[in-house]
Protein backbone atom coordinates (compact mmCIF):
# COMPACT_ATOMS: atom_id res chain seq x y z
CA UNK A 1 0.00 0.00 0.00
CA UNK A 2 0.92 3.62 0.02
CA UNK A 3 3.44 4.78 2.54
CA UNK A 4 5.36 7.79 3.54
CA UNK A 5 8.48 7.18 5.56
CA UNK A 6 11.20 9.10 7.20
CA UNK A 7 14.86 8.24 7.20
CA UNK A 8 15.54 9.08 10.85
CA UNK A 9 13.28 8.88 13.88
CA UNK A 10 15.25 11.50 15.83
CA UNK A 11 17.55 14.35 14.92
CA UNK A 12 19.66 16.30 17.40
CA UNK A 13 21.19 19.62 16.39
CA UNK A 14 22.95 22.50 18.03
CA UNK A 15 21.17 25.81 18.28
CA UNK A 16 22.08 27.94 15.29
CA UNK A 17 22.90 25.00 13.02
CA UNK A 18 20.85 24.10 9.98
CA UNK A 19 18.57 21.06 10.20
CA UNK A 20 17.59 18.72 7.40
CA UNK A 21 14.72 16.28 7.80
CA UNK A 22 14.17 13.76 5.04
CA UNK A 23 11.11 11.91 3.83
CA UNK A 24 10.37 9.31 1.16
CA UNK A 25 7.00 8.60 -0.40
CA UNK A 26 5.79 5.68 -2.45
CA UNK A 27 2.92 6.93 -4.60
CA UNK A 28 4.21 8.36 -7.86
CA UNK A 29 0.77 9.91 -8.40
CA UNK A 30 1.17 12.16 -5.36
CA UNK A 31 1.10 15.75 -6.50
CA UNK A 32 1.02 17.66 -3.27
CA UNK A 33 3.33 17.46 -0.26
CA UNK A 34 3.20 19.16 3.08
CA UNK A 35 5.27 19.41 6.23
CA UNK A 36 3.70 19.71 9.64
CA UNK A 37 5.21 20.51 13.03
CA UNK A 38 3.74 18.97 16.15
CA UNK A 39 4.66 20.25 19.57
CA UNK A 40 3.95 18.18 22.64
CA UNK A 41 0.26 18.07 23.49
CA UNK A 42 -0.82 19.93 20.39
CA UNK A 43 -2.17 19.07 16.98
CA UNK A 44 0.08 19.29 13.92
CA UNK A 45 0.61 22.76 12.51
CA UNK A 46 1.29 23.63 8.88
CA UNK A 47 4.85 24.63 8.04
CA UNK A 48 5.18 24.62 4.28
CA UNK A 49 3.82 22.82 1.24
CA UNK A 50 4.92 22.15 -2.30
CA UNK A 51 3.26 20.93 -5.47
CA UNK A 52 4.76 18.42 -7.84
CA UNK A 53 5.36 21.06 -10.53
CA UNK A 54 8.00 22.62 -8.29
CA UNK A 55 11.25 21.26 -6.89
CA UNK A 56 11.92 23.91 -4.27
CA UNK A 57 9.92 26.27 -2.15
CA UNK A 58 11.09 28.63 0.54
CA UNK A 59 9.40 30.07 3.57
CA UNK A 60 10.62 31.88 6.59
CA UNK A 61 13.76 29.95 7.67
CA UNK A 62 12.37 26.82 6.02
CA UNK A 63 12.91 25.31 2.60
CA UNK A 64 11.27 22.24 1.13
CA UNK A 65 12.99 20.32 -1.65
CA UNK A 66 11.19 17.79 -3.81
CA UNK A 67 12.87 15.15 -5.95
CA UNK A 68 10.17 13.36 -7.89
CA UNK A 69 12.61 11.08 -9.62
CA UNK A 70 13.49 9.29 -6.40
CA UNK A 71 10.25 10.22 -4.58
CA UNK A 72 12.01 12.12 -1.85
CA UNK A 73 11.43 15.39 -0.10
CA UNK A 74 13.27 17.22 2.60
CA UNK A 75 12.68 20.03 5.02
CA UNK A 76 15.54 22.37 5.75
CA UNK A 77 15.40 24.65 8.77
CA UNK A 78 17.96 27.43 8.85
CA UNK A 79 19.51 28.64 12.09
CA UNK A 80 17.60 26.15 14.20
CA UNK A 81 16.21 27.55 17.42
CA UNK A 82 15.04 25.88 20.65
CA UNK A 83 11.47 26.68 19.63
CA UNK A 84 11.91 24.43 16.61
CA UNK A 85 12.08 21.39 18.88
CA UNK A 86 9.09 19.25 17.91
CA UNK A 87 8.08 16.26 15.83
CA UNK A 88 7.99 16.95 12.12
CA UNK A 89 5.69 15.04 9.79
CA UNK A 90 5.72 14.93 6.04
CA UNK A 91 2.56 14.03 4.16
CA UNK A 92 1.81 13.28 0.54
CA UNK A 93 -1.47 13.46 -1.32
CA UNK A 94 -3.01 10.08 -2.01
CA UNK A 95 -4.23 11.13 -5.41
CA UNK A 96 -7.78 11.85 -6.41
CA UNK A 97 -8.88 14.08 -3.60
CA UNK A 98 -7.89 15.80 -0.44
CA UNK A 99 -6.47 12.79 1.35
CA UNK A 100 -3.00 12.89 2.86
CA UNK A 101 -0.76 9.98 3.82
CA UNK A 102 1.44 10.89 6.78
CA UNK A 103 4.89 9.66 7.64
CA UNK A 104 5.85 8.43 11.10
CA UNK A 105 7.53 11.68 12.12
CA UNK A 106 11.03 12.84 13.04
CA UNK A 107 11.69 14.26 16.47
CA UNK A 108 13.95 17.30 16.26
CA UNK A 109 15.86 18.13 19.45
CA UNK A 110 17.69 21.45 19.55
CA UNK A 111 20.49 21.74 22.09
CA UNK A 112 21.89 25.07 23.34
Amino acid sequence: GESVGLHLPTLSVQEGDNSIINCAYSNSASDYFIWYKQESGKGPQFIIDIRSNMDKRQGQRVTVLLNKTVKHLSLQIAATQPGDSAVYFCAASAGGYNKLIFGAGTRLAVHP
Binding site: I34, Y36, P44, F89, S93, N98, K99, I101, G103, G105
Partner: protein
Protein backbone atom coordinates in the same frame (compact mmCIF):
# COMPACT_ATOMS: atom_id res chain seq x y z
CA UNK B 1 -10.38 33.27 13.82
CA UNK B 2 -11.51 30.11 15.54
CA UNK B 3 -9.65 26.97 14.67
CA UNK B 4 -10.69 23.35 14.87
CA UNK B 5 -11.88 22.44 18.34
CA UNK B 6 -12.23 19.03 19.90
CA UNK B 7 -13.85 17.80 23.06
CA UNK B 8 -13.14 16.44 25.51
CA UNK B 9 -9.41 17.07 25.61
CA UNK B 10 -8.95 13.96 27.71
CA UNK B 11 -11.20 10.95 28.11
CA UNK B 12 -10.69 8.06 30.49
CA UNK B 13 -12.98 5.11 29.94
CA UNK B 14 -13.28 1.58 31.17
CA UNK B 15 -12.67 -1.28 28.80
CA UNK B 16 -15.92 -2.30 27.16
CA UNK B 17 -17.59 1.11 27.44
CA UNK B 18 -18.61 3.29 24.52
CA UNK B 19 -17.09 6.74 23.97
CA UNK B 20 -17.98 9.71 21.81
CA UNK B 21 -15.45 12.26 20.64
CA UNK B 22 -16.53 15.56 19.16
CA UNK B 23 -15.01 17.79 16.51
CA UNK B 24 -16.00 21.30 15.49
CA UNK B 25 -14.33 22.18 12.19
CA UNK B 26 -13.44 25.63 10.93
CA UNK B 27 -16.52 27.40 9.64
CA UNK B 28 -16.84 27.04 5.90
CA UNK B 29 -14.59 24.00 5.64
CA UNK B 30 -16.42 21.27 3.78
CA UNK B 31 -13.87 18.51 4.36
CA UNK B 32 -13.37 16.86 7.74
CA UNK B 33 -10.94 14.13 8.72
CA UNK B 34 -10.35 11.92 11.72
CA UNK B 35 -6.93 10.49 12.52
CA UNK B 36 -5.56 8.35 15.30
CA UNK B 37 -2.10 8.87 16.72
CA UNK B 38 -0.69 6.21 18.98
CA UNK B 39 2.20 7.05 21.29
CA UNK B 40 5.30 7.88 19.31
CA UNK B 41 3.63 7.07 16.02
CA UNK B 42 2.47 8.93 12.96
CA UNK B 43 -1.08 9.82 12.01
CA UNK B 44 -3.34 6.95 11.02
CA UNK B 45 -6.19 8.02 8.74
CA UNK B 46 -9.60 6.89 9.96
CA UNK B 47 -12.37 8.58 8.01
CA UNK B 48 -13.00 11.52 5.66
CA UNK B 49 -16.14 13.55 5.06
CA UNK B 50 -16.60 15.82 2.07
CA UNK B 51 -19.77 17.85 1.85
CA UNK B 52 -22.80 15.65 1.31
CA UNK B 53 -20.84 12.85 -0.32
CA UNK B 54 -20.61 9.40 1.20
CA UNK B 55 -17.70 9.37 3.66
CA UNK B 56 -14.48 7.50 2.99
CA UNK B 57 -14.42 4.98 5.84
CA UNK B 58 -11.49 3.01 4.52
CA UNK B 59 -9.31 3.75 7.55
CA UNK B 60 -11.66 2.63 10.29
CA UNK B 61 -9.90 -0.26 12.05
CA UNK B 62 -13.01 -2.23 12.99
CA UNK B 63 -16.78 -2.06 13.02
CA UNK B 64 -16.59 -0.76 16.59
CA UNK B 65 -15.61 2.58 15.09
CA UNK B 66 -18.12 4.88 13.43
CA UNK B 67 -18.43 8.57 12.72
CA UNK B 68 -21.13 10.99 11.79
CA UNK B 69 -21.14 14.52 10.52
CA UNK B 70 -24.36 16.37 11.09
CA UNK B 71 -25.38 19.33 8.97
CA UNK B 72 -22.04 19.36 7.24
CA UNK B 73 -20.36 20.75 10.32
CA UNK B 74 -19.86 19.04 13.69
CA UNK B 75 -18.61 15.47 13.66
CA UNK B 76 -18.74 12.76 16.28
CA UNK B 77 -16.43 9.74 16.35
CA UNK B 78 -17.89 6.85 18.32
CA UNK B 79 -15.94 3.89 19.60
CA UNK B 80 -18.04 1.03 20.91
CA UNK B 81 -16.85 -1.50 23.46
CA UNK B 82 -13.48 0.20 23.83
CA UNK B 83 -10.38 -1.98 24.00
CA UNK B 84 -6.89 -1.29 25.35
CA UNK B 85 -5.55 -0.94 21.82
CA UNK B 86 -7.93 1.97 21.22
CA UNK B 87 -5.91 4.16 23.57
CA UNK B 88 -4.44 6.98 21.51
CA UNK B 89 -4.83 10.64 20.66
CA UNK B 90 -7.68 11.17 18.22
CA UNK B 91 -7.11 14.16 15.96
CA UNK B 92 -9.65 15.93 13.84
CA UNK B 93 -8.76 18.16 10.90
CA UNK B 94 -10.70 20.21 8.40
CA UNK B 95 -9.90 21.73 5.04
CA UNK B 96 -11.61 23.86 2.45
CA UNK B 97 -12.44 20.67 0.60
CA UNK B 98 -12.78 19.32 -2.87
CA UNK B 99 -12.56 21.71 -5.75
CA UNK B 100 -10.10 23.95 -4.01
CA UNK B 101 -6.44 24.36 -4.86
CA UNK B 102 -5.14 23.53 -1.44
CA UNK B 103 -5.08 20.31 0.48
CA UNK B 104 -3.94 21.98 3.68
CA UNK B 105 -5.58 20.45 6.68
CA UNK B 106 -6.02 22.37 9.92
CA UNK B 107 -5.81 20.23 13.00
CA UNK B 108 -7.50 20.42 16.33
CA UNK B 109 -5.63 19.78 19.61
CA UNK B 110 -6.84 16.20 19.81
CA UNK B 111 -8.62 14.05 22.37
CA UNK B 112 -6.41 11.76 24.44
CA UNK B 113 -8.27 8.51 25.08
CA UNK B 114 -7.16 6.32 27.96
CA UNK B 115 -8.70 2.88 28.42
CA UNK B 116 -8.46 1.36 31.90
Amino acid sequence: GAGVSQSPSNKVTEKGKDVELRCDPISGHTALYWYRQSLGQGLEFLIYFQGNSAPDKSGLPSDRFSAERTGGSVSTLTIQRTQQEDAAVYLCASSLGAGTVTYEQYFGPGTRLTVT
